[in-house]
């Protein structure tokens, strides 16, 4: 699980620069929540391109904590990013008013998708690619909104577990308050990821590393000392959320179907 930090930074900065510039763009755009994942994506982008080519937006809802905004600003200052605040309340509240039966989960998803709308609009405004901020733990557990925060053009941290995100963030000098605070989606007051998931990220990461990276099967994992209930719960989350990691399922009719036997890289011709 431990990383060669220098090498990882080399790979990830090179990735951001290469995949952005090869298609003829200079800038990247990302949402800065005040949390560690977006801070790390931002730090890597600033290292790859220079802070003046990174456009970061904090997009609070009226219930978002002030701490989040302060931390986002701290990150933007540290890495000299272009920074702006786009308040989403005036966009989402009219919709919430139209849906009196809306629950917390639906509201959270609507907010995540509203932020996506803003980011992709900024992407068109500054001619920048939208940078993803979902880590490997979240992607595997499906802890994110489909076409919301999961939507991006490039994701530099999608192959790093949360534990590795922490390690790399300290190494890159991300403000300590951002590294230390409890991870939260900040969708309602007092929410934390670990409380909602029912296990800690460190627990999940040790298990996912053995399950995914080392391809160990359930009996082996239990023998290694992982709690059987946790193994089953996590394995089921990974399975159930596969749809979020795939593109749309297309019904096959022709000889050549997009994605199935019409296969090209995104980097086709670049």
């Amino acid at each position: 699980m431990k990383l060669d930090l220098d090498l990882t930074v080399d790979i990830l900065t090179n990735f951001i620069k290469d995949e952005t510039e090869k298609i003829g763009l200079k800038n990247v755009v990302l949402g800065l929540s005040g949390g560690i994942d977006s801070a790390l994506s931002a730090a890597l982008a600033a290292k790859a391109l220079g802070g003046n080519r990174v456009y970061a937006y904090c997009m609070p809802y009226k219930l978002s904590s002030d701490e989040s905004l302060k931390d986002a600003m701290k990150v933007a200052e540290t890495f000299r990013l272009n920074f702006d605040v786009i308040e989403i309340t005036p966009m989402t509240d009219p919709y919430f008013e139209m849906m009196p039966d809306i629950d917390k989960l639906r509201m959270g998803n609507v907010m995540a998708r509203q932020r996506m709308i803003c980011l992709f609009d900024m992407s068109a405004k500054v001619a920048g690619l939208v940078l993803g901020t979902s880590n490997k733990t979240e992607l595997l557990l499906g802890y994110g909104t489909w076409y919301g925060d999961l939507a991006s053009a490039l994701n530099p941290i999608g192959d790093l577990y949360k534990t590795q995100v922490w390690e790399l963030s300290e190494y890159l000098g991300i403000p300590q308050s951002v590294v230390d605070k409890a991870p939260t989606a900040d969708l309602w007051v007092g929410q934390t990821d670990e409380q909602e998931l029912g296990f800690t990220y460190r627990q999940a990461d040790d298990l996912l590393y053995a399950m995914v990276d080392e391809r160990r099967r359930t009996p082996e994992l239990i023998e290694m000392g992982f709690d059987e209930e946790l193994v089953k719960k996590v394995a089921e989350k990974v399975r159930r959320n596969q749809f979020k990691r795939n593109t749309t399922v297309i019904a096959k009719v022709s000889q050549r179907t997009i994605g199935r036997d019409f296969r090209y890289c995104r980097d086709w011709g670049y």
Binding site: L3, D4, I11, N14, E19, F262, Y264, C265, D267, G269
Partner: protein, 286 residues
């Protein structure tokens, strides 16, 4: 052989970043590098695997495929009057089969065309889906002594190494497209394996070895570069930086093979009848 073997072979390792599926633009870049290498007085310039096309071709395989009559190939033959060149491309055979191939061209002719034999088709690789596999590994005569080409994965099979060694190869040229992965506390799996393997091959086969790996990123996969050359004692002569588009010129001394084979005569002492008997009897994986 009817020509004199040159003692020192000046080799340029072209650690390039091909454009995925753009044969013409990649060719231009090759020609620029070849011209520079000629100016530098190089004898040989080596490009990575699939250097003319890029790696993750998928359905582009059929668009970028060519044979020796293709204008781009002809241009390479023209350039080869001044310098020997090893380059990678998709070869379309008369039978309309598509190969991951590398050619050694010199003096206006194809000296050898190697079709990759061992196509990786696992984890992040799917070469077996798109390419036909070559079915021979041969050493060939050049002005720099006997050479062998192994494309990337070919190297990790003892049969390739054994045949080249027993056929008298003195220089092994390895065009490669190795992706960085398996990041560890120190380095990553891919470079660790390659560097260990390159040093092992050079010292145990007592051959000069030239490994040229590409750089650049394709759909999130980074190729790590780190091209390097060894003498026949397994000493690393030079290495290019990782992840950086660059070139490296190195003098490969043919006499290092002679010295190594006096000090460590592994080739002389090899008992190939053991292999023959083993395979003739009940040995080998069926």
């Amino acid at each position: 052989m009817d020509f004199l073997i040159e003692e020192i072979m000046k080799v340029h390792l072209a650690q390039i970043k091909p454009i995925l599926g753009n044969l013409e633009k990649n060719a231009e870049n090759h020609f620029k590098i070849i011209e520079q290498a000629v100016e530098e007085g190089c004898d040989l310039v080596v490009f990575p695997e699939l250097s003319l096309t890029g790696y993750y071709l998928l359905d582009l395989v059929y668009d970028v495929a060519m044979d020796e009559t293709h204008p781009v190939y002809q241009k390479f033959l023209e350039y080869s009057n001044d310098i020997a060149i090893v380059f990678g491309f998709v070869y379309e055979s008369k039978e309309k089969l598509f190969y991951n191939a590398a050619s050694f061209v010199h003096r206006g002719k194809t000296v050898h065309l190697h079709k990759k034999v061992y196509l990786p088709d696992y984890t992040l690789f799917e070469e077996g889906r798109y390419f036909a596999s070559g079915n021979s590994i041969e050493a060939f005569d050049t002005e720099f002594g006997k050479c062998g080409i192994l494309v990337c994965e070919d190297v990790f099979h003892l049969s390739s190494l054994y045949i080249l060694s027993q056929s008298g190869a003195q220089n092994i040229i390895i065009p490669s497209n190795s992706p960085a992965r398996g990041n560890l506390e120190q380095g990553h799996d891919a470079s660790n394996t390659w560097q260990t393997s390159n040093r092992y091959i050079a010292s145990v086969l007592t051959v000069n070895l030239v490994f040229v790996n590409r750089v650049g990123v394709e759909d999130g996969v980074s190729f790590w570069g780190g091209s390097e050359a060894y003498d026949a004692k397994g000493r690393r002569l030079a290495a290019a930086e990782m992840f950086k588009e660059t070139g490296l010129t190195v003098d490969v001394d043919q006499d290092s093979v002679r010295r190594a084979r006096i000090e460590t005569p592994f080739l002389r002492d090899e008992k190939s009848f053991l292999v023959r008997d083993f395979l003739n009897d009940d040995g080998g994986r069926k």
